[in-house]
Amino acid sequence: MSEIPGDLKFLKSHEWARVEDGGLVRVGISDHAQGQLGDLVYVELPEVGASVQAGHGAAVLESVKAASDIYSPVSGEVVEVNEALADKPETINEDAYGEGWIFVVRMSDRGELGELLDADAYAELVENEDH
């Protein structure tokens, strides 16, 4: 399992959030989650301009095994989606914390970040799940 980048925050449902300049939050799924899902074959992206709510479904990932809703860690407006995933969904399997990002939200309530797990707490959650 690859190391969890320390600058990320997480939902318990395994989505990560990376706070960037200008109130933007980049969203993906953890390396642990991609391993659980197995080979990804299809990504249903949100539309740019769509509004998303923290803890609600914003995208769908389909692996060979199953379909999974991806929740947005924060509320706001989708300003960018990772179009490259349409042709190469396996990018999430290969680089979950980097090239495998899914969408970017302009957050409407910075306070929601406080609700998320930090990297250490998330690592502990995964650790406990494996036992």
Binding site: G35, E62, V64
Partner: protein
């Protein structure tokens, strides 16, 4: 209580992701399910299928018993080692299990049945066997490794005793024979499989299974998990018990009519019901579906046809085709424009004849 095959520690050492499958702790993949799928289509892969149940039947009336127990006719088995795919039905014509029966001699046949149905199968067989005086012996002392792919046979044959090689090379499809493997281990090698590729399914005594697995790995055969096994058999058009048929479905409704032998005068369990269903007309049929758009067909999704609703049985992304395919059970008759409800979205699909893939290549019209 989860059961473990004798190869369990080997899978874990390879870093397999393990899941519960019919009460067994089995590898779903060793990394990438799609790569394992391609390894079988393009080269050679191996599966631990030791969770499947081997049952030996002994007694002078074994053939007569199997003529009664099974919907296909064991009279097709005339030479030692020949194998037959068949359903075992209840009195209503519902499928208790699908299985392979091997002929050794008139007093000895072997069945290989599914893992998830083991207990009920054994109980049913034992009960039916009583009037025929058949001895029913489960063989937990055996492990089983399926080696599948265009290069699978050559890799296995290379590991056999030199004297056995020409004989195993000549082994026909759906036939089996004994041979000596690495270090003289005794193997029972069948040219059968569940992937749509050529290959062998090998029964090996438990104490030799790890050594055989390692010898196959050293010969370049790639470990493959149950995930790849599922996408391979779906592409190959092969049913999965419990998903594509069960005790509420007859072989007519599961595209297994070709396995029913309605030969004259043979009184097998379920025959009366099957003949009645045939005369009345089968109301729901099994078809193949292809999704040309993006998305994945999954078990349980609703299928909309001109004659009413049906449902997806087995459905998955098919790695060889790079799109989703499925089996569905739908009302009989011309289905018209067919759509599948994928999370509230109605997506058009094509109804096709399957298999979808055979010997590494997409079939015509897929």
């Amino acid at each position: 209580m989860t059961e473990k095959t004798v190869l369990n520690a080997t899978h874990r050492a390879l870093g397999a992701r393990m899941v519960d499958f019919g009460g067994w702790d089995m590898p779903i993949n060793y990394g990438s399910q799609i790569e394992e799928h391609h390894a079988v289509r393009r080269d050679a892969g191996m599966f631990d299928v030791s969770h499947m149940t081997v049952v030996d039947l002994h007694g002078p009336r074994t053939r007569e018993f199997l003529r009664h127990l099974l919907a296909n006719n064991v009279d097709k088995l005339k030479t030692t080692g020949k194998a037959l795919y068949t359903c075992m039905l209840n009195e209503q014509g519902g499928v208790i299990d699908d299985l392979i029966v091997y002929f050794f001699d008139e007093a000895h046949f072997r069945l290989v049945v599914n893992a998830a149905t083991r207990a009920k199968d054994l109980a049913w067989i034992a009960k039916q066997a009583v009037p025929f005086g058949i001895e029913v012996n489960e063989r937990p002392d055996f492990a089983m490794i399926a080696v599948q792919g265009p290069n699978a046979r050559a890799r296995v044959i290379g590991l056999l005793h030199a004297e056995d090689r020409p004989r195993i090379e000549k082994l026909g499809r759906f036939a089996a024979a004994a041979a000596q493997g690495p270090h003289g281990m005794p193997l029972f090698i069948a040219r059968t499989g569940y992937t749509g590729e050529d290959g062998f399914e090998i029964v090996v005594p438990n104490e030799h299974a790890v050594a055989l697995w390692e010898a196959l790995a050293a010969a370049g055969v790639k470990p493959a998990g149950l995930g790849a096994r599922d996408t391979l058999r779906l592409e190959a058009g092969m049913n999965l018990y419990g998903q594509d048929m069960d005790e509420t479905v007859s072989p007519w409704g599961a595209n297994l009519g070709w396995t029913i032998a309605l030969d004259e005068g043979r009184d097998f369990i379920g025959r009366v019901a099957l003949e009645k269903q045939k005369a009345e007309g089968v109301k729901r049929v099994m078809v193949g579906l292809v999704l040309d758009e993006k998305g994945v067909l999954r078990h349980g999704q609703k299928v909309l046809t001109a004659n009413g609703e049906g449902e997806i049985l087995s459905g998955s992304f098919a790695p060889t085709l790079d799109k989703a395919v499925a089996f569905a059970r739908i009302p009989a008759g011309e289905p018209g424009e067919v759509r599948v409800d994928i999370r509230g979205r109605e997506v058009p699909v094509r109804v096709v004849k399957y298999p979808f893939v055979r010997d590494g290549k997409p079939c015509e019209g897929i």
